[in-house]
Symmetry: C2
Subunit: 401 residues, 2 copies
């Protein structure tokens, strides 16, 4: 047995090096997933495996039917909060997309994506056997998705296959530039062709106000660990009543011999989904989330302040649409690249200089351009971030206006 005690010791007491109490972590995917203190309590209370199954109703054994803890209420409130009719918590935003693609499309069908879609939108399409067509963006430096392009892509599919695509997906805010897309315009265009629209709100719902009904979309998917102050893995799937009928269709398989059937179970969810602690963190953080989205404009203000201040370093330029409408920031920084060429640590110098100043989360090695997220930082942390960049710039002789 190679699994000696010595070997196994590596799994004990593994500490997180970049925890919130030690560093300002501006990792682009992490800011919205920092737990609320209520969620931390929930973790300890509900950590054990199937802890939430103590009061599963025997007649309808299903996660969304549990009332102790109040999961049934939560699902209703979650739908209400997102302006949709039905909501389910699934294991990841990507799983929500797969579920939607598997249930609302057939293998060989097309789904239209924006060209800034997350890789998981492509993978979910591929896993469901779908083909994709991408709606272009404006390219450097704004990379703005041309939402009018949804019409021409739908026309392309019509010409090629004789019928409209099964679905369209629009990324509400993209992972690369933090651009906001005009989802309601996309919904309008696609609905003119009878194409249902999936809103990928992984970077918006949970941190900013998102109302699917007001936007006119048919499905909203989001990520609890990205934007709802929850543990991974938690995804959110919210649906109009019409879509719910298809997407949440019950199982109809029957055992050939036993004749067992499982009609109470939602097929594409495989029955129950997130049965433990992560769901409870999502619930415990929900009051905090409902409250924090009202403060979104201040978060955007911080982002704009950071951009304004960092652009004082000569050569620094924000990519994506200006002014910022989201806290995910992508900067082009040729000035830091020039420094890296003469620095003995090469591209790693910037990462290391930032870390010395208590800041982590920018990809090690990058200096030409990089992204980060200031969501949920206090103003004093924001100012420290700005000071750190200025201090590093000055240390290496860059001009700070």
């Amino acid at each position: 047995m190679v699994l000696s005690k010595d070997r196994l010791r590596r799994y004990l007491n593994v500490k997180r090096e970049y925890s919130e109490d030690k560093y300002i972590n501006v990792n682009p995917i992490q800011r919205g997933g920092v737990l609320s203190k209520e969620a931390r309590l929930a973790l300890l209370e509900w950590g054990d495996g199937y802890s939430i199954c103590d009061f599963c109703p025997p007649q309808t054994p299903r996660l969304d039917k549990i009332t102790r803890p109040p999961i049934r209420d939560f699902y209703q409130d979650l739908a209400e909060f997102l302006g949709m009719d039905e909501a389910r918590v699934v294991t990841r935003c990507r799983e929500a997309k797969l579920i939607v693609f598997m249930t609302l499309a057939k293998p060989g069908d097309y789904v239209i994506l924006d060209s800034l879609a997350h890789y998981t939108s492509y993978l979910a399409a591929e896993a469901a056997g779908l083909k994709v067509k991408e709606v272009p963006n404006s390219g450097y430096p704004e990379f703005k998705v041309d939402v009018e392009g949804y019409a021409s892509k739908i026309e392309e599919v019509l010409k090629e296959t004789g019928r409209p695509p099964a679905l369209a997906l629009i990324t509400h805010v993209d992972y690369m530039y933090g651009n906001f897309a005009d989802a309601s315009r996309v919904a309008k265009i696609c609905h003119d062709y009878g194409v249902p629209v999936v809103l990928n709100a992984a970077y918006t719902a949970g941190v900013s106000p998102v109302n699917g009904r007001a936007l006119g979309v048919d499905v909203v998917v989001s990520s609890g660990h990205k934007s709802w102050a929850s543990c991974a893995p938690t995804g959110i799937l919210a649906l109009t009543q019409e879509m719910a009928k298809e997407v949440l269709r019950p199982s109809s398989i029957e055992g050939d011999l036993t004749k067992r059937r499982f009609a109470v179970k939602e097929l594409a969810l495989l029955g129950c989904t997130v049965m433990g602690a992560p769901l409870m963190t999502l619930m415990a953080s929900f009051p905090h989330v409902v409250e924090r989205i009202e403060r979104w404009s201040e978060e955007v203000e911080k982002a704009r302040f950071v951009v304004e201040q960092l652009e004082r370093i000569k050569g620094v330029k924000q990519l994506g649409v200006k002014p910022k409408m989201h806290t995910l920031i992508h900067l082009e920084t040729p000035c830091f690249y020039e420094v890296s060429k003469r620095h003995k640590r090469r591209g790693f110098f910037l990462y290391e200089e930032l870390r010395e100043r208590g800041i982590v989360g920018i990809q090690p090695g990058l200096t030409k351009h990089f992204k980060f997220n200031v969501y949920g930082l206090s103003w004093s942390q924001v100012k420290h971030l700005v000071w750190s960049f200025h201090d590093i710039a000055e240390k290496y002789g860059l001009e700070v206006a």
Copy 2:
């Protein structure tokens, strides 16, 4: 907005009523998922959303490539522990089955299941578009799966379709009677027809020694929150090298416009799976799990003791194969049913009498027959459980030999 502060208060500080420190919880699905104390520490340390992504390698951004925390090592050790070549942690055992069914079979194909298979095995088959054929069991009172029946079911499929089924699944220990199936015999039979075998080890791996190589199976799936002292949702997928080639096939989709590709990502896993705290609980509990499976025989001894003692109550009879080889126990108890007919609380009397004695986890309302699990109980807890049943029996005038 109906989401008033008052309404939202219900999600704050929700306590688990049946926690380990208050009750002996013998819920059949919960005993193997009680966290180790090391896992409890990991929860707090790694609770934040994407906490484990701080050191994701930029060139191969994938969960199984992360070395800080030691996820890469863990995946290797997990495979080794299960006697397989490759292992991945996925979101649930049911997702592991779906992944295997989607990648190793095509819609319309058959999968052979044992007739005691968990509902999620059927749902995974249905979601993947597969048809099922069930291998019979011996029925009352043993419900022993006739493993030789795999041959005749395969023959049936051959006759019907001209080719063997895509897959066979055998439930190592079933959820209903806790019977052990002879997986190595199933593997032998199925391999004679060239049919790969999936072992559903949700109730065995993590609590008892399971070696996929020794059993001759091609895939092992298991459940972290059921049997590995982990948070939900965590599933385990372990594969031979040959299966891994298919099941872990990378993505090949390409954007029509951007030409973006994602060849580093494992398609059926949708890239990364369990990115946070639940994975860390699985890792933190792993040394404990490696150690505890060596004590399996003592756990079985406790189960046999309980059966022997409860069968002293006249009319109580253990269902499933005797003697017990697993800690999940199903009892037939017509004597308690007789009591319920004259009790003002009807079927709920037994549940309530047990709860008064500090025992929960038996389905409320059941008295004719019910199941529970004694895994991981101390001998003094086991004895208290026995005493409680005897005490209740005597209270209601039942004969205890």
